[in-house]
Structures are given as C-alpha cells and as structure tokens.
Symmetry: C2
Subunit: 304 residues, 2 copies
C-alpha cells in the first residue's frame, strides 16, 4: 500500500457533460473517458441512467458503456436514481452503480422527484439490486453543505442519512457540495463527524468550485481521511436543477494540488492538461479549470 494515496474519480463524462447546452456525441464521450483512463484514472462516472426526457444529454448511456474497452482495474460507474434506472444500468457492463440521496426535501424533489425519505428508500432498493447482480454500489448525499432552496443544511441530518444508508452496505459514502457553498471548516466538521460515526466506511468527496472554495475543500477532506475525490476534466459541470451551480473541481487543478503536496494519485498531469485542451476544443469554449492555462510548476530556464 502506498502511503499518501488519493484517488481521483473522473465525473466529466456524466456530471460534466450533462450540463452542456448541446448534446455531446457518443464517440466524443467515449474519447473523453478513454483519455482519462490513459492518464491513469481508475474510476469514472461514465453515464447517468435517467429519463432521457429529463436529461437528454445522457440519452445514449447504454451506447457509451457498450463502446468502452475493458481495462484491468478500471471501474466504469453508472449513475442511477431509481429502480428503473438501476435495471437499465445492470443490463450494461458497468462495474459499479452510484446513486444519490439529496439532503433536503425541496432540492430532492426538484432534482429527482424524491423527498429525503423517498431518496433513502430508493437508494436501498438500488443497492440491493446491485448486490443481487453481483455489482458494487455506492451512494452520494447531495447538497450536504447547503441547499439552493433551503440554505443551511443541518450536519445532524446529513449524518443521520449517512447512517441509514450505511446499513444497506454501499462500498463507499460520498458527501457532495452540489452547489459549491462549502468552506474548509465545514468540510472538517462534517467529514470529521462522519468518520466518527462510520469509522470503517470508505469516504468520498464531491466538490464544485462555484465560489472558489473547491480546492481548499478538497485539501480539508483529505486531511479528514477522505480517500477519493470527484473531479471533472477542465472543471466542466454544474447541475441542471440547481440555479447557478457551476463546474466540478477540475481534474488537472486537483492533480496539481496533489502532486505538489506529495500525495500520490497515479495520474499524469501532462496528459490531463492535454485532455483539458482537447475538451475545450471539442466543446468550442474555454474550460473553467486554471492549470490547463497556467501549466504545471515551472521548469527552470537554464542560462547558457
């Protein structure tokens, strides 16, 4: 086991592209995923199995998965919000199912037509279905750090949801700052308490950089023992049902932080930067991440 190991979970093909104004083609989605794998990423959200009427950008979920090559040690994740989505995902080759419980009723109903109680029940169904089919499954608690409609979200409620979900046997629980309002103090508090409540549960964090706190929050999460961080190439993303939510933390920005902090991810910065440039070209606009523009740490310029 390598010490100081931090895993990056690439969500660009799902959380990133589902918020694009246009629909990205299936081959371009597959190319994005293949590039992330080539750079060293080992877990990727590749599609969302939601109703194509609600999220047309994800209508080709089955085709994306069908087009992905198998690699030893690489897990493709399908996001699902209910039993119907889970059955669709389980009919594909995805290695892992991810599901989402929103920590407030109002946002949960807007995002996926579920109150908290309904979200927990749906997640339990999904986890059971995945286990019945011999697949791994994990769960994310969305809006854990704040809600676009209700404002503050009580930490006690997030922890209570996490404890209820833990009983259903996910491989991991993630807390998501879906609208990018969190700060490091809150990250320390929430993940610190979660680790006390569920000391054996692997933890993941999902941050958006909406208010420029995403990288600071990532560092705080790592300090609290979080071993996996979500990020998207270029920092693309947002949430179609959350006003003003902007991109995930950029994979290349997170990787720069890890590399310069002596944390090992197994991912190659130069390749990720090249892929962020490719992505900006593909989308026809600059991406929000900064390291793809600034470059890595400067190499010494030698005098003659």
């Amino acid at each position: 086991m390598t010490k100081n190991l931090v895993h990056i979970l690439e969500v660009g093909a799902r959380d990133g592209l589902q918020n694009e104004p246009g629909v990205v083609s299936t081959p371009d989605k597959i190319a994005l995923i293949n590039r992330a794998v080539a750079a060293g990423i080992r877990r990727l959200e590749v599609a969302s199995f939601v109703h194509p009427g609600r999220v047309p950008q994800m209508a080709d979920a089955e085709a994306v998965v069908a087009g992905l090559p198998e690699h030893e040690g690489v897990s493709y994740i399908g996001l699902v919000l209910n039993k119907k989505g889970a059955l669709r995902a389980l009919a594909t080759r995805v290695h892992e199912l991810g599901c989402v419980v929103v920590a407030t009723d109002s946002f949960g109903q807007k995002n996926q037509g579920q109150t908290i109680v309904e979200g927990i029940a749906a997640a339990r169904d999904i986890l059971r279905l995945a286990h019945d089919h011999g697949r791994r499954a994990q769960v994310t608690i969305a809006a854990s750090f704040g809600c676009p409609f209700e404002g503050e979200v009580p930490a006690e409620r997030v922890l209570d949801i996490a404890e209820q979900l833990a009983e259903a046997g996910p491989i991991e629980i993630a807390l998501a700052d879906t609208i990018g309002v969190g700060v490091p103090a809150q990250v320390h508090d929430l993940f610190g308490q979660l680790r006390e409540r569920l000391p054996d549960m692997p933890l993941r964090a999902h941050f958006h950089n909406t208010r420029n706190t995403g990288i600071a929050n990532a560092m705080a999460a790592i300090e609290e023992g979080v071993v996996t961080l979500d990020a998207s190439l270029g920092g693309i993303g947002g949430c179609p049902f959350a006003p003003k939510a902007t991109g995930n933390i950029a994979t290349e920005d997170l990787l720069y932080l890890l590399d310069r902090s002596g944390l090992v991810s197994g991912v190659d910065l130069d390749q990720v930067i090249a892929s962020a440039h490719w992505l900006a070209d593909m989308l026809g606009r600059p991406v929000p991440g900064l390291v793809s523009k600034a470059g890595g740490f400067p190499k010494p310029i030698r005098a003659e």
Copy 2:
C-alpha cells in the same frame, strides 16, 4: 480585541490595475479605492511609485493619492522599489510604504533590476527613509513559493531574507506567491518556519489564484497565524514581468471564505460583490473572481 480577526489588504488599484492592457483613468482608480473603503477595508495599496516608462498604468500615482479622502483608521499604501520611488511616495500623503525583495536573482532582475542582495539593500534604504519621515513601512518577499525562471525556491533562502529584512524594522513581513504556484503544504511549511524565526513579527500573505490554489493557501496561512491577506476586487491582476501570472485572489472570494468560516474582517460582502460588478463594467470584461457571479450563501426561499 476581536478573536478570529483577519484583515484584508486591498491591492486592486495597484497589483490589479498595473496589469490592465489599457490605462485606467485616475478618477476610476479613486472610485475603486473609495468603494473598497466604503465596504469596510482599512488598508489599501493605492499606487506604485515606479518609473512610468516601465509601468505606464501607474504614471498617475501622485494624482491618485492627492484625490483620496482621509478616513480615520484607513491606511493608503504606496509601493516603491528604490530610494527614488520612496522619495516620490514620501512627498505624497500615503500613510505607509511597501517595498519588495524578490527571492531569486533572475526574477528580481527582470522585475525591478535588482539581485537578492541589491533588493535587500534597497529595502533597508526605503525602510530607513520612511522611518526618517515618520511613516510606517513593510516589505514583501516576492516569488517566495516558486520562480517563473528558476522553478523551486529554497525555503531556507526566503527565511534568511526575512531575517535580514526584520533587522530594518518593518511593521510587517509578507510572503508573496507572485506566480501562483504554492499549495497549502508549502504555505504551512514556510509561514510556520517564519513564525518560529520571527515570533513577534506581524505576517501578511499575498496569493495569486493562477493554479486555483489561492483560497486554499489563504486558509493555510490563516491557520499559521497570518493576520493580513492581500486580495484584489474581482481577482484582477498579475505581473507584467512574470509570464502567465494571473490575478490575485478575489476580495469577494476571500471574504466569502472568511464569513463562512466564522472569521471576522469587518468587510461587507454585498458591497464588495457590487463593486466587483462595477469593476467588470468599468474594465469592459468579466473579472476572474467567482463569488460575484455565484452570489453569497443562498438565502432560504420560503414557501407561501
């Protein structure tokens, strides 16, 4: 004394505007400064007394200072790089002089025509002159976290420069990440060591968000006992003599972090956001800061 007090030093009128492609008018500079003061900021870099041939954006330094109203408790700072600049600044009403020593010879020569040794000597001259004129003066060590030409900068060298400067009696020593390469681990290391070497010296930090680590670094600096942080409205700025250096951390982004972390600055976020919008209009382009676009923490939307 309020506990958890953190001061914001507004550098937008100097570090921000000196990198604008066009020259901003004197009244617009004064308006920017007045807006920051109205929002609650108490220390501001208002001009740089450098050769107008080298930095034409700062050619109106004297006129800017002459146009500023006096406020109880508000300090206007003039940046100077040598004796000639100090004499110009001392002929104005600025309350405080700031000077800069660059931590590498190659960048120091490009930035201000001084090696490290020459920079230290110039800073001592400036501090002495300021004291002779009954004005406060402080010093910033630029490129403390990395150099665009030499790459890594040894911590030992930065600490040694700081100790030499401390003998000349500045009111404060700042470490600057001029090209935005630092990460929190490095901030903890460098400021932690500096505090051990100079336990009674007030410390300030100057971060650029070039690689998206600026806010994370600000938080790390606060944890190391740094009491003052530089920031610029809208996150404008850069360095004309450092390739690819981009903006300072945005005042509004830093303030959002402080407010949500229970840290008190006495600055009003709504006013700062309004000023960032004003600044974007004045410059005719979006500013890099994010909180002016996303807004503060969401207020609950009440059902009827």
